[in-house]
Symmetry: C2
Subunit: 704 residues, 2 copies
């Protein structure tokens, strides 16, 4: 990863295309630099048609500058960008910030210009930010490399770092600063000809002034870079909250028409997010609710929720939102309970949720004491204070009380502003950095993500950095490995499979079956026939020599009928799987962004209908394997629900790890793998892939 | 249902407990009546300690009044309420509105007072509203029978009717009037000693000034009344939007501690809502988003969604929200497309979603023409206009354009205000009744419910009113019908079951099996053994006389071992179910609120683990049966997915209807019924309950 320090903290900046023509991009960018930044380095204005702008000297070219600036901000029209870039690269400028549009997003001509821009930068060792972007907004260090007329209003410094591709949605998040917590740095990387969102996530992971990283993505270009960045953030204890469009076909198509880049598989993206602790949200308001909560406080070791309100209906509603999200209501410590019982009236509810009832609202001291007691309870991870109404002075008093109570405790008090009426009480909470979510559901969804991140973090005891297996362009040709050979490879990799043997004649089939011991399964053996059952190529439960002999005849006839083209190697005779057990499946595909991805779940027809599957990028660790097993909806079935025998979960987890290691060891070769079904027995009985389809890259050189 | 006309439109009102003591309930209620209502009937003040208040004559008692008022509003302290109620009832006052607290919500003494209050009302034929409630807020006819200091500000008349139990959450919804659409009538029924939320839903269903009904519920007391009310609303074409707490144990417990009433089963409530077209939401903000959208426009026959925005990222985000909610993006008519192509720049996206790009935002006429063209497209049900940012004047102009475009078309334009910054543009949209949702996700969730209601309404072709089967207190004793007898009853009700016979000896078992034809199933026959498999009481696939004879020995031994207490009638010999097919289940229970409820879904272990079930209150109609089948997650499996044979869906739907009819015909007797498994064959093969457990009320008189 490039060190971006000089891009974020430059010592000198050249503005190429500086202008004093009102409302021009050159003028607006200049004004942001001169009037609205607090930059104490040198600023060079470059414009060959001027000698002076606003009383500052204007240089004819970057080449003519007395020193090499750390950054060249390029705002000249699209036709002139390449020449300027060439000049900058020649001068040895380390970073070019290209705000100009008309590149990859603007048809074929623009795409060609973008390719040339990249080539110029690569040749000169210059890094490019943009093009086609609103620029870089550094609030904490007050530097606007942007033409945005909003920059003068981006005044709230803060611990949130924002990395987005598009400018519009990024600006939407910037306006959430109105909720009272600021965004310290916003990178909006536009067409990402070079620097990507991931570069800025990586930078923010190390930046001491950033505590929470927020990102908006339409597509991830470089999976390895992205994974490295989010692992860096995780290692440094900084949560990454991500919103990525493309969960539906409509969204994928619209994003593609917008950025001309593919969004990638939503399932794979979400799996990678989950694997590395990235907190995925489903909308921008959820992103704001969640990130702003993290900016207030990091989750601690306790994850019980407290609820404190003065409305019985709201208490029930909020308790319900806790329950439906799988969160846990804390049990108050005895001293908290005793104090509430002493201070609150008889008809108040003093167990969690606390309902003080509205009649005590006028007693600010009482509220402060009782809320303070709840917030100091050691059993709590956070206290939710849903504010049902804007009742003017009463509500202002409540806001004051919350502010005072928070001063005496570290457990975050999370007020939720439920009313459409947003008066002075709301403004006071915002001013004091409470960033209130605006519905109980939304607030608790943010808390659920906050708690889940805390749990994830605690579960990650010293996991080492993961490197992607192998990202390759799609294979030009593939071939499937025979089942016999595939299972041999698995066995070699330490994965248990049932005894089997290839029989090249009817006699050999009978002999091998007898040697193996009945019952057996007979399957057609042919490199060209992958879906054996579909052509009548499988017979199971063969208990005698006669049945095996008959199976030979039937299967060969069926294969000849359905696939006269296929070369038949014979019959694969295999020991029949034990009785009982559960059918699962393990699949591996090569994702164009993240390399090999494993899909694991229920086998059989349920896989596609009920989609009870879970995914991980490879390689996985022991914690991932355990999490994958637990994430299945049908996990209770494996865990002994309804009086069923407990499945051999140890063997299953070991199998997942071995498959991962096998794929990693053969990463360049394996394109796809399908172990389906995988037989899983009761405790001690093991886990056995009953079928193995391995598709490998054909040896001819792959073309991109 | 009582006619509530005189409660909503009284000709005269007595205020019992009228006062001029500042901030007392009597004073606040009086002020709301005299200063903030526009009531042209007579108002009588009653207070034995005064002769005059605020210049108006004060009467010593209700008995002393010159005429009988339509309503007595009772605000005297709790100790005096019963005497006043008695007086009112004696005088023949039709409605008492009791605002006073200290009844059912306040411990045992209060509960007793509440019982007496109800007895007084019942004896005198007087209806009671309350007690323990903020009162009745009639905005459209400007009459406040309430002590709320907010009433003077409840000024926006409107088409929304609001019926709530609690006051706090109800007031929260009232404050959503700030979103620009008013609430015409708010009934907050408090302890519901007599009049319930359902009475007001029923009233609003007939009220000409109410178009949309909103309700907040903690528990439904009278299922029959509630179902009658929501059916009335459906018949009159008025959507009912409901939010009910109690979806989790936490919520149920908190609601119970708040209202001292059980919330009922969330699954059953939701099923009844779905059955009768009630739109259920999961939070109050969703309720507001949804109801306010209905208040703007009812869904029409087209349900395609249009998206119009000036941000590519927002276009993708919104299209994604459409897709993930199962909504459909409309295809524009050719003339719309042509006009967009002509007017918008080349780099704009002119197919749905429309992304004008930000550069054209300054051209208001262009925006108005193109937005107008989209909104007039005949293929659209609504147009979503997500507004990404508050950009001051630009956004105000956008708001103006939306307002102008809406004037020329009936298809609703739904602006979504996405930013936390809510400036003048937002206020203009509110002022013009657009009630903008505040995130794309929330907005589209409301649209999804709006579209779903339109579809539901179109599917309801002349369904006749449904009457609850039989609501009874829990049975003091039940007994299970033998499988033989249960299946006989089913057969009598026209439900196909496999041939079976009771064998009282081993010889009889063999003989009956032989007569029936092999293979057969043998099951223990005992009124005391319900879960036969669990004690080794079932053997399947018996193909010979010897196997049947052996089964007799095994099963009898197993039964004697596990249940030495049970009376054994013999073995039930039954024809074996055909090969293949799918296992389903049909269950019926008696809900204490709604009578018999049917649960239908996948059979076997998957029922509990995957919860792939759907429910309906009985009786069901053909449309319900069809909907239940379609609602199963595994419906594609039955419908021929993955090359499976299509199941006999006709037979399945017929079976659901016959079971419904059977339960209705035996409603007082049947407590519970479990047909599990139900065998469902391929098309033409039928649907057969393989087991039948019927639990009936024991004949002794049930005690409550």
């Amino acid at each position: 990863m490039t060190d971006l320090t000089r891009l974020i903290h430059p010592r000198s900046i050249a503005l190429v295309g500086a202008s004093d023509r009102l409302h021009s991009i050159g003028e607006r960018t200049l004004s942001n630099l001169l009037d609205h930044s607090e930059f104490d380095g040198e600023i060079f204005l470059v414009n060959p048609t001027k000698t002076e702008i606003r009383g500052q000297k204007c240089w004819p070219s970057v080449a003519a500058l007395p020193v090499t600036p750390d950054i060249a901000v390029i705002v000249v029209p699209v036709a002139g960008v390449l020449a300027v870039a060439e000049e900058c690269a020649g001068r040895g400028v380390p970073f070019a910030v290209v705000l100009t549009s008309g590149f990859g997003e603007a048809g074929e001509e623009g795409e060609q210009a973008q390719v040339r821009l990249k080539a110029i930068a690569d040749a000169g060792g210059m890094r490019i930010y943009g093009p086609n972007c609103p620029g870089l907004t550094n609030v904490n260090h007050r530097l606007g490399l942007t033409f945005s007329p909003s920059f003068p209003h981006d005044l709230i410094k803060g611990p949130i770092g924002l990395a987005t591709q598009g400018g519009g949605l990024g600006r939407n998040v910037m306006q959430a600063m109105d909720r009272g917590i600021g965004i310290g740095l916003w990178a909006s990387t536009g067409n990402e000809v070079d620097l990507q969102v991931a570069d800025f996530i990586h930078y923010m992971a190390d930046a001491p002034d950033i505590k929470v990283i927020v990102t908006l993505l339409e597509g991830i270009k470089d999976g390895a870079k992205f994974v490295a960045a989010i692992q860096r953030a995780a290692a440094n204890g900084k949560p990454v909250i991500a919103f990525k469009v493309g969960k539906s076909e409509y969204g994928q198509r619209a994003a593609q028409s917008h950025t001309a880049s593919l969004t990638g598989s939503a399932e794979v993206n979400s799996a990678v997010f989950r694997q590395f602790g990235v907190i995925e949200v489903d909308d921008i308001d959820e992103l704001v609710d969640t990130a702003w909560l993290f900016a207030r406080a990091m989750p601690g070791p306790e994850d019980g929720i407290g609820i404190y309100t003065s409305s019985g209906g709201t208490a029930a509603l909020t308790a319900d939102a806790v329950g439906t999200r799988g969160l846990r209501l804390a049990t108050f410590a005895p001293e908290t309970r005793a104090l509430l019982k002493e201070l609150l009236p008889d008809y108040a509810a003093i167990d969690n949720p606390v309902d003080t009832t509205a009649v005590v609202l006028s007693d600010a001291q009482l509220i402060e004491k009782t809320l303070g007691a709840v917030a100091s309870d050691p059993n709590l991870g956070c206290v939710i204070v849903p504010i049902t109404l804007d009742y003017g002075e009463t509500t202002i008093q409540m806001a004051r009380t919350i502010i005072a109570a928070q001063k005496n405790c570290t457990t975050p008090i999370v007020p939720i502003w439920m009313s459409d009426r947003m008066g002075e009480g709301y403004r006071m909470l915002v001013e004091h950095g409470f960033a209130p979510p605006r519905s109980v559901g939304k607030g608790l969804s943010a808390v659920r993500r906050w708690v889940a991140y805390g749990r994830w973090k605690r579960s990650q005891s010293g996991v080492s950095a993961v490197t992607l297996t192998s990202v390759l362009p799609p294979a030009s040709a593939t071939r499937s490995v025979s089942e016999l050979e595939g299972k041999r490879q698995l066995r070699e990799a330490g994965i248990a499979v049932l005894p089997n043997a290839l029989a090249r004649s009817q006699e050999e089939a009978v002999a091998k079956a007898a040697a193996m011991g009945f019952p057996v399964v007979a399957k057609i053996a042919s490199g060209q026939i992958v879906h054996k059952s579909d052509i009548g190529g499988v017979q199971v439960g063969l208990k005698t020599a006669e049945q095996v002999a008959a199976a030979w005849v039937d299967i060969m006839a069926s294969a000849a009928h359905h696939r006269p083209d296929a070369t038949i190697d014979g019959l694969l005779i295999e020991k029949m799987a034990p009785q009982g057990g559960v059918e699962l499946m393990i699949g591996v595909t090569r994702d164009p962004v993240f390399g090999h991805v494993m899909t694991f779940g229920m086998g059989g027809i349920y896989v596609e209908i009920l989609r009870d599957v879970t995914r991980r990028m490879l390689p996985i660790g022991a914690e991932d394997a355990a999490a994958m097993v637990r994430e299945m909806r049908c996990f209770p079935l494996l865990d002994g629900a309804r009086g069923r025998p407990r499945a051999d979960l140890q063997a299953l987890k070991a199998l997942l790890l071995k498959v991962s290691a096998f794929v990693v060891a053969n990463a360049d070769r394996i394109e796809e793998m399908d172990l389906n079904p995988v037989w899983l027995g009761a405790e001690g009985e093991g886990a056995l892939p009953l079928d193995a389809v391995i598709i490998e890259r054909a040896e001819q050189k792959a073309s991109a």
